[in-house]
């Protein structure tokens, strides 16, 4: 645990709003990036981001002194995403079993529009094409730099399951990227 993070947790436990601001600034991009890439929707990701930080604020005084804020926030974000997905499924069923995802209205999703090169576009699409369970592990390990053990704790899964998902995510990403895969990925 970083010394800064320990100070932030201490501040939160005292109900210090400035400590909250620092934590929000430090983690909002990471949590939002995870939520956008999981929901594939900016509006939903914003709502879930707000809910995640509301829960942190409301839970601040009950945090343990050794709380790892990244893991805590991603655990909440994961649970919010799971609830959101269930709600989407229910809504789709109530609407007469329409497809789960909205059909794309243009060639590029808002997420893909951020890509400023063909390689980035291919990469964003490859991540988007992964099944959510694989995408989630790939994002938490690859983008967020969490260890597979930490990810297992966040998702409430066994480390073996995470290891398998990592391997499958990597294989599927390599297949989806094709020529856009980094050179090191193409060598056996």
């Amino acid at each position: 645990m970083e010394p800064d993070e320990r100070a932030w947790v201490d501040g939160l436990r005292r109900g210090d709003a400035q400590a909250f601001d620092v934590v929000f600034a430090a983690y909002r991009r990471r949590v939002y990036g995870y939520l956008v890439r999981m929901t594939r929707r900016r509006d939903a990701a914003e709502d879930l981001l707000q809910e995640a930080f509301l829960r942190l604020a409301q839970h601040a005084k009950r945090l343990d002194a050794d709380t790892r804020l990244g893991a805590w926030l991603f655990t909440v974000a994961h649970r919010l995403f799971v609830s959101w997905t269930r709600a989407q499924h229910v809504r789709a069923q109530l609407a007469g079993d329409l497809p789960r995802s909205e059909p794309p209205t243009s060639d590029r999703s808002p997420l893909e529009a951020l890509a400023d090169s063909q390689a980035q576009l291919a990469l964003e699409r490859a991540f988007g094409a992964l099944a959510p369970a694989y995408r989630e592990v790939a994002l938490l390990v690859g983008v967020e730099g969490l260890t597979p053990t930490e990810v297992a704790g966040i998702l409430g899964e066994k480390p073996d399951a995470i290891r398998q998902r990592l391997a499958r995510a990597r294989t599927q990403l390599a297949a989806a990227l094709g020529d856009h895969a980094p050179a090191s990925w193409r060598t056996p």
Binding site: A17, F24, Y32, E46, Q50, F127, R163, L166
Partner: protein, 73 residues
């Protein structure tokens, strides 16, 4: 291929992903909303639903027990 290889390759690939951030106005709105709740605990409104459900179920159980007692008596 070991798990360490998978982790290293995914990290290498992920560095190429574009950075995503919430727009500054939304970020400020979210921060301001959440800041008000720092250290306050969950809103009491969150308790309303479980309390109502408990009262409803409890009253139904009491009614059912009374009916059974009445039938037996």
């Amino acid at each position: 291929m070991t798990m360490e290889d998978d982790v290293a390759k995914l990290a290498e690939l992920s560095r190429e992903l574009p950075t995503i951030d919430v727009d500054s106005q939304s970020a400020e709105r979210i921060a301001m909303r959440a800041r008000q709740d720092v250290g306050r605990g969950p809103s009491p409104r969150r308790l309303v639903e479980p309390v109502l459900a408990t009262l409803l179920v409890g009253s139904y159980l009491v009614w059912a027990v009374l009916k059974i007692v009445e039938a037996l008596g």
